[in-house]
Structure formats: structure tokens, C-alpha cells
Symmetry: C2
Subunit: 192 residues, 2 copies
């Protein structure tokens, strides 16, 4: 299972005297944080966005269709086709969070989740990790329960079409692509 290296090393050490919070809101905290190089002794200020970890769910129906959601994304300024998912609540287990997000966004629930992969979302500027989990035998169990401001269309696509959807860019959110590529790697048939 792709994971994150358990023994971190760090060539720079934190100098908390230079830290400053630049923005704080319901979603993230933006800070300027000062570190000093163990090698050169030089100090450097980094921008760091403190954001909750997230989960993406590769969810498959009994007839091998992948459950996707289409929603507006303000960073790209367009609608984006993605696996269901979202941010973990404080203290929440990633497998429970994935099952919760799948149910809330799509109304589907399935077998107990399995871990597929974990990556740093963007370690140069964000503190968050992104985990992809697999839920099979997903069936429609409820009406979606969306958060305020969320408008999500659910789309089911045959699993065999996913490689082509990654290649032609219909699915192009990096964290979704990495999760789906790992899922394809883990399948007997293999490649994208």
C-alpha cells in the first residue's frame, strides 16, 4: 500500500520567533513560518497553509461502475469530475471519513473501506495529506446530504472506461488522478 515514509528527516529546523499568521478562516490557516538550515545556518521564511487532511473514495457498484461527482471548483473556475471525498473532521478516522463523504455526497454505501494510497497534497506549501480508499459493492442507500454551498451531480461510469477518462483529461484533479492510477495498478488487469 503506497504510504508516507515513517521516519521523517528534516534538514531545516523551526525558528518560531519569525512566525506570523496572515489569514485564518473556517477552511485553513495561512502562516509565514521561519526555518533555519542545519547545513548553512541560513534562515528562510516559508508560506504554509494549514489545512485538514482529505480523503478520496474509489467507490464501485456491484456491476463495476465507478461513482463520480461533478462539481464546480473555484481554483480552476470550471466544473470538475472527481471521486467523492472531502476533508476529515478533527480526530476523524480516514476510513470512516471516506464512507461518510461517500454517503453524504452520493447517497451510496458499501463494504468496509480499504486503504489504497496516501500522499502529501502539496508539501511545499500545504500541511495536508490525501488518502485514497476503496469501497466496493456500493449501493444507493439514501438521499445525498450536501453541505451549504455544495451542488454535486452524481455520475456512474463503467470502470473499464476510467483509463481513457484519465488519458483524455476528463478527470484531471491531481489528487483524484493519483488515487485512480493506484487503484488501476492494484487491479489484476493493471495499467491505465
Amino acid at each position: 500500500m503506497p504510504e508516507i515514509e515513517p521516519t521523517p528527516t528534516s534538514s531545516w529546523v523551526r525558528q518560531e520567533d519569525g512566525d506570523r499568521t496572515l489569514e485564518e478562516n473556517w477552511l485553513f490557516r495561512l502562516r509565514r513560518e521561519r526555518y533555519r538550515s542545519r547545513t548553512s545556518g541560513r534562515a528562510h521564511d516559508y508560506y504554509v497553509i494549514h489545512l485538514a487532511d482529505s480523503v478520496n473514495v474509489v467507490a464501485l457498484t456491484p456491476d463495476e461502475r465507478l461513482i463520480l461527482v461533478r462539481q464546480f471548483r473555484a481554483g480552476s473556475g470550471r466544473d470538475s469530475l472527481e471521486t467523492p471525498g472531502g476533508l476529515l473532521d478533527p480526530g476523524e478516522d480516514v476510513l470512516s471519513a471516506g464512507a461518510r463523504e461517500l454517503l453524504e455526497e452520493t447517497g451510496y454505501a458499501g463494504d468496509p473501506p480499504e486503504l489504497l494510497s496516501i500522499v502529501w497534497s502539496n508539501p511545499s506549501i500545504m500541511t495536508s495529506k490525501s488518502t485514497t480508499i476503496l469501497i466496493t459493492n456500493a449501493c444507493l442507500m439514501a438521499e445525498p446530504q450536501l453541505d451549504h454551498g455544495e451542488e454535486v451531480d452524481v455520475e456512474l461510469v463503467p470502470a473499464r472506461e476510467v483509463p481513457e477518462m484519465l488519458r483524455d483529461g476528463r478527470i484531471s484533479h491531481s489528487l483524484v488522478v493519483v488515487g485512480l492510477l493506484w487503484w488501476l495498478q492494484s487491479r489484476p488487469s493493471g495499467s491505465a
Copy 2:
């Protein structure tokens, strides 16, 4: 070649009267931007980080070693093993930017670059796209020329070891992982 869908659709439209710049610095501009749903008519404020596009370089030596760089990343608070790369200069071509970053960070240069994939870095909050390019026959041509604050160690690893390094998390930056998975897919031998 994995790319981004050429015909964008957007279910929300921009309402510029609600926009506000929250932070602006040499690296990015953080804005709160208001959009209105075409479906429901409701308005919602999104946080958007305006950041330059980036490029990652899968660079191989004539004897099939992959050129990697190890550097401190403040988001994860630890050192990170990555393909060379960086942000595009304004107006810069992505292929030229990749060759430039490879040379600056590692001193290596090789054959004309080829596009491997392009994804949105994190379209829910960032405007940037991330492109991965391939440069083969890379040879050491110069001393690295690092930017202020950059401290980078160059590491060469046999290409055949990359799948294991992705699986065990030694390489765990999402944008690097997605580029390397696409590169492995494109090779005759195939999977990770």
C-alpha cells in the same frame, strides 16, 4: 498524452462585487471570490490561491537512472524526495521551463523534452496546473545554480527501483507521484 479537457463548463458564474484580496506576496495571491450558481441562484464565497503553473521533470541518464532532488518542504515539515521542477516564469513555455529547472537544480541537461501529463494541482483552491515532462539522455553539464533559500541534494536512482519507491512512500509528493505513475504507464514494461 494525459491533458486537461479542452472545453470547460462551469455551473457557477463569477460575481466580482464580492471579491477581496486577502494576501499578496512574491509567491501567490490569496483571494476570496464570489460565485453564483446557475442552478440555484445562490452565491458562495470561495478561497482561491492564485499561483503560477509548475513543471516536474522525469529526467533519465543514458544508463537509465532517474535524477531526483531531496529538499526541505515546509508544508510537510520534512525533507522530500522529488523529481526536479519548479514554477514557470511569466509567459514561459512549459518545456523550456522544465529544461531550465532541471539544469538549475541539478546541472543536468538532455534531449528535447516531451510532454507526459498535465493535471490541475488542486482545483478546489488553487489556480495552478502541473505538467510533467520527460527528458532522456540527461548528462551532467554544469554546476547547479540554486535560488536564494534553496538547498537541494541530487540523487540518482536506477529507474527499475522507482515503483518500489512509490509504493513504500519514499516518494510521496502528489504531483511527483502522478507524473511518475504516468511515466511508468508510458513505458513498455508498464506498471508500478
